[in-house]
């Protein structure tokens, strides 16, 4: 595309003359002030939130701490938490369960859906039209950033994340390091530390293009029935979020000490073997941590793999999911050795992810101190599709709100208590969560500072 010959003056005229209300005000602010709506100097660091999901749970007997409360021990699969004292920033939850309330338990789907939406869906691959709770957080802390939420996966066939705004429309994942890099740091990226910032006139044109689309909302919604209205509403919400992304691109970013624009990563062949996925996870963890540090987004939904994880050891015919069902429990060890090895890899990826956040210095602490990361899975024991005791962990200080270093053990209480607690710690004004036997208004107060 050739560079448009817009002058600031012609744009002002265009906007003042022909702009719609939707595009007029924020841009007007921008121009009248000559700079963006800066965060006030000295304001606290923003809270960041991430979900990190891996499929197929963990190995019973190899991940649950034996001691309850503070200073918990770290069994083999949580050993990475002892590195650099990460365990002091972590809460491990055990004993939580999913209340089916007469609904079927869809293997590898129901557990995750219950945690994310507070309800067991009637159908597989659906959330019963409910939004996932990360949106409540994003709507509160994610405004004004380029990406209200950002989705990615280190596993190449994870097409969508387990995040939905509703209508069972799931958000697309960037599923390769290069795709994620391009989305984040390619066109539209504003380096907060660039010396010569100026707004890109092409972004302003894009905004008026979208305004013309958004203006159709009233006319179109007048003619539709309930089900189609919800889908159209979602469409127009997406248009609005895209407009907000463009707003963010037009605003002069606050200088940001911890933001270092990464280099474009190497793209590897599309494979699902362990070395490839571990490499993707390593690179993507760093890209995402930097996206949070550079204020491109405040909320990340990350999948190490989908729920029915199909990673494999090179040269080993069965994929991880097949192993969990077919591999016998080793009598001497007391667990399935190959499945356990692949669970180590999956939760080890979580370690990589939180260490990437911990490695970024921010203010008087680290990015992880200002973030909250929920690591979780879909099953307790994958071999039998158990939805009891699904591994769930919270890591990060949440700007001083999360009191980590604890093992919270309960007897069969709903997973929604964790989801509710997470929302409150991450700053969403939510008082209750879940439906039926999973409805709760009781957060886990012992981990709230």
């Amino acid at each position: 595309m050739k560079t448009p010959r817009f002058s600031r003056r012609s744009l002002m005229r265009g906007m003042l003359g022909g702009g719609t209300v939707a595009m007029g005000l924020p841009l007007l602010d921008l121009f009248l002030n000559g700079h963006g709506q800066a965060l006030a100097n000295g304001a606290p660091m923003p809270t960041r939130f991430a979900t990190y999901f891996w499929g197929l749970g963990l190995t019973p007997s190899r991940w649950e701490p034996k001691t309850v409360g503070p200073n918990f021990d770290a069994p083999p699969q949580l050993a990475f938490l002892k590195d650099g004292g990460l365990d002091r920033k972590t809460t491990v939850f055990t004993g939580f369960t999913v209340g089916l309330d007469g609904k079927p338990s869809h293997p590898h789907w129901t557990g995750m859906a219950a945690i994310m939406t507070g309800q067991c869906p009637a159908q597989l691959n659906k959330f019963d039209g409910l939004p996932s709770f990360d949106n409540a957080i994003a709507d509160n802390i994610g405004r004004g950033t380029r990406f209200r939420t950002l989705e990615a996966s280190s596993f190449r066939s994870a097409v969508t994340a387990y995040s939905s705004r509703g209508q069972d429309s799931f958000k697309m994942c960037d599923d390769s390091p290069l795709a994620l890099y391009t989305r984040l740091y390619g066109p539209g990226f504003q380096d907060p530390n660039a010396a010569d910032w100026k707004p890109d006139p092409r972004v302003m044109v894009k905004k008026s293009v979208l305004s013309a689309v958004g203006d159709q909302r009233t006319a179109l919604l007048r003619d539709v029935g309930v089900a189609d209205r919800a889908r159209l509403d979602q469409y127009f919400t997406s248009v609005r979020e895209l407009e907000q992304k463009l707003d963010a691109e037009l605003r002069k970013p606050e200088p940001c000490e911890s933001c270092v624009v990464p280099k474009a990563p190497e793209e590897r062949p599309r494979k699902g073997d362990v070395p490839t996925v571990v490499y993707n996870n390593q690179v993507m963890s760093q890209l995402l941590a930097m996206a949070l540090a550079c204020n491109q987004t405040r909320v990340v939904n990350y999948l190490f793999t989908t729920a029915t994880s199909e990673i494999y050891r090179p040269g080993d015919a069965p994929v991880y999911h097949s192993h969990t069902h077919e591999e016998p429990v080793d009598a001497k060890l007391g667990y399935q050795p190959i499945s356990s090895e692949l669970a180590d890899v999956s939760v080890g990826g979580f370690g990589t992810f939180i260490k990437a956040l911990e490695a970024i210095k921010e203010g008087d602490g680290t990015l992880l101190d200002h973030a909250l990361v929920m690591g979780f899975s879909d099953t307790g024991w994958a071999k039998i599709h158990s939805i009891d005791n699904i591994p769930m962990m919270l890591v990060g200080g949440a700007n001083g709100r999360h009191k980590g270093g604890q093992h919270v053990k309960v007897a069969a209480e709903p997973v929604t208590r964790v989801s509710l607690t997470v929302q409150q710690l991450a700053g969403a004004p939510v008082g209750s969560f879940g439906t039926g036997s999973m409805a709760t208004s009781k957060p886990i107060t012992e981990i709230m500072a």
Binding site: S10, L11, R13, G14, L16, G17, G18, V21, S105, H106, P107, T110, A122, Q123, L124, E151, R156, S157, V159, T160, R165, Q167, D168, S169, F170, K171, M172, V205, V209, L210, V213, D215, Q216, A219, D223, V224, G225, D228, R231, Q234, Y235, E241, L242, K271, D273, T306, T308, Y312, A317, P318, S322, H325, E326, E327, P328, V329, K383, H385, S386, I387
Partner: protein
């Protein structure tokens, strides 16, 4: 009209948003009764037909949603997420950029600006209305047109370039819900609330079903004049469209959907086992199946049942390596007939089916059996029960069992598993002499593979036996009729559809299982263009066709 556009262009926004009279005909537009997101291939084909085949489309499409076995049904439930919107917007900008660049603008039919360096509302109006009508598959409302002309005006003025303005107007049209969704509108309603689609919606149903693309000028005119709403007018369009070579595009897209071939985009194979696997092989395997079916069923107007037994196909050099057959043609593709003793006959023995429903490193009789039942018999398999007692399987050292059959037999001793595995395993086991890539093999881990199986008391052997069994199974043809009907309407088959579907099935079998004849009978029936009130309620409990065994159910994610 032009005045309205010019005024809006000057920014009296209130005119457009607060005075309903300015919205003109849109107030009179009939009620929306359906919203179907364009599939990726429909999007591509529509853009190619409207702006030219050389327009490049780069970007990622929102993942297709499959419901009750078909993307055609899922697209009636699919929404557009923020990340999807970002992609659609980027694609729209790139398409509009190309369509208005120096190489293409001369081809833009309708008008040339008086001064290419200035805004020209009259010319912009003509272009917006002309291309808007093609993209929206119906004329733009006055408001829709005025908004785009105003946008074009502003940009052209600022940029001193008429075509910059047109570019942004086109981007806006391409991003609009009226393009990204096929918006179906009712012309009238019967006493029971059943809506009859208007002519434009009827044109879209026909066009996407038969040609997989946006209605052409002739079809739009038939909608505009009302001819399409008459029996004679509908018949004339059907004659024209079914006689066109483009019927191959429509049916090709239908088979691609029915056979779930979009799964190729997510396929991975372990190179340690399958060094021959490549993206090229995957793309050609997908095309091979579509070519074969289109050739047999559309070009040659053959018997549908023969797709399970025919040895005729098309070959490339890359495919020939996996099929282990010689390739002597000089062209990229050549017709090919497998030898009678090759073990290959019918669509089930093609790489597409065999490799898609396998694991990355080994075949899966279960995945193949589940897929076969779902795709060709419309018999979905329920999800496996939760909290299965695996202790029986546990007691057996699975690693000592050499073949998939041995492992599955260990499995089937559990009653709750057996209820499904008895219908799923036999067809899968019959295909076990094909590995995860679809190549022939006789041994698995050094043990000869037994491909005997039994379904409903009938014993058969191998892929050949399975093909014959399917050929003679009446469910196979009724399933195809259901899928075609659901593809046209974009809705799951409801109880109220069954009499018509049954009657179409009879016509299909009575006529020798010819698809073109079935399409004509189906598309001449006014019921195909009706929408009953709240289909979600009419279908009652949603069928569980999306459910597959856990091993393959993640197809959408």
């Amino acid at each position: 009209m032009l005045l309205v556009a010019a005024v809006a262009g000057l920014g009296l926004v209130a005119t457009a948003t607060s005075a309903p009279s300015a919205s003109g005909p849109s107030a009179a537009l009939p009620q929306v009764v359906g919203l179907r997101r364009l599939t990726a291939s429909q999007y591509r084909q529509s853009v190619a037909d409207i702006f030219g085949r050389d327009i490049k489309i780069t970007g990622r499409f929102e993942p297709e949603v499959r419901r009750d076995g078909l993307i055609a049904i899922g697209s009636g439930e699919a929404a557009i997420s923020t990340s999807g919107m970002e992609q659609y917007f980027g694609m729209a900008a790139s398409i509009a950029e190309q369509a208005t660049d120096a190489g293409h603008r001369a081809a833009l039919a309708g008008c040339k600006p008086a001064d290419p360096a200035a805004a020209d509302d009259a010319c912009a109006t003509i272009l917006v209305q002309r291309y808007g009508r093609l993209l929206f598959r119906r004329p733009l409302s006055a408001q829709q047109a005025a908004q785009r002309v105003a946008l074009a005006h502003r940009v052209a003025e600022a940029d001193h370039d008429f075509y910059s303005g047109v570019r942004e107007a086109f981007t806006s049209l391409l991003t609009s819900p009226d393009f990204l969704f096929r918006i179906e509108r009712a012309a009238s309603r019967g006493p029971d609330g059943t809506a009859e689609l208007d002519g434009y919606s009827r044109a879209s149903r026909l066009s996407y079903l038969l040609w997989n693309t946006t209605p052409d000028e002739t079809l739009l005119q038939a909608a505009e004049t009302g001819a399409l709403m008459t029996d004679a007018g509908l018949r004339a369009q059907l004659d024209r469209m079914t006689a066109s070579p483009r019927l191959a595009d429509g049916m090709g897209a239908f088979f691609d959907d029915m056979l779930q071939l979009e799964l190729f985009s997510k396929q991975t194979k372990d190179p340690q086992f399958y060094p021959k696997y490549s993206q090229l092989l995957a793309a050609q395997a997908r095309e091979q199946t579509v070519r074969t079916l289109v050739d047999q069923l559309v070009t040659k107007n053959g018997d549908y049942r023969d797709i399970f037994t025919s040895r005729d196909t098309f070959m490339t050099r890359t495919l020939a390596m996996v099929y282990q057959v010689p390739y002597v043609a000089r062209t990229e593709w050549a017709p090919y007939t497998f030898e009678a003793d090759s073990g290959r006959s019918g669509v089930l023995t093609q790489i597409s089916f065999l490799s898609l429903f396998s694991h990355p490193g080994r075949s899966s009789p279960v995945k193949r059996g589940v897929a076969l039942n779902e795709i060709f018999l419309c018999q979905p398999t329920p999800s496996p029960p939760a909290n299965v007692d695996f202790s029986i399987v546990n007691g057996t050292s699975m690693t000592q069992l050499k073949t998939s059959r041995a492992k599955l037999e260990a499995h089937a001793t559990d009653e709750s598993c057996a209820s499904c595995h008895t219908s799923v395993d036999p067809p899968g086991l019959a295909l076990e002499r094909f590995d995860s890539l679809g190549a022939h093999r006789d041994l698995e881990n050094g043990v000869p593979i037994d491909v005997h199986a039994e379904i409903d008391g009938k014993s058969f052997e191998g892929a050949g036996g399975l093909g014959l069994l399917l050929h003679d199974n009446p469910r196979v043809s009724s399933c195809l009729v259901r899928d075609l009907y659901a593809s046209a309407t974009g809705r799951s088959i409801a109880a109220a559809d069954k009499p018509l579907v049954n009657s179409l099935t009879k016509t299909f079998s009575g006529g020798g299982y010819r698809i073109a004849a079935l399409l004509r009978t189906m598309a001449l029936n006014p019921a195909l263009y009706e929408v009953r009130p709240s289909p979600a309620q009419a279908t009652a409990a949603p069928p569980v066709k999306v459910a597959r065994l856990a091993s393959s159910k993640e197809s959408n994610r």
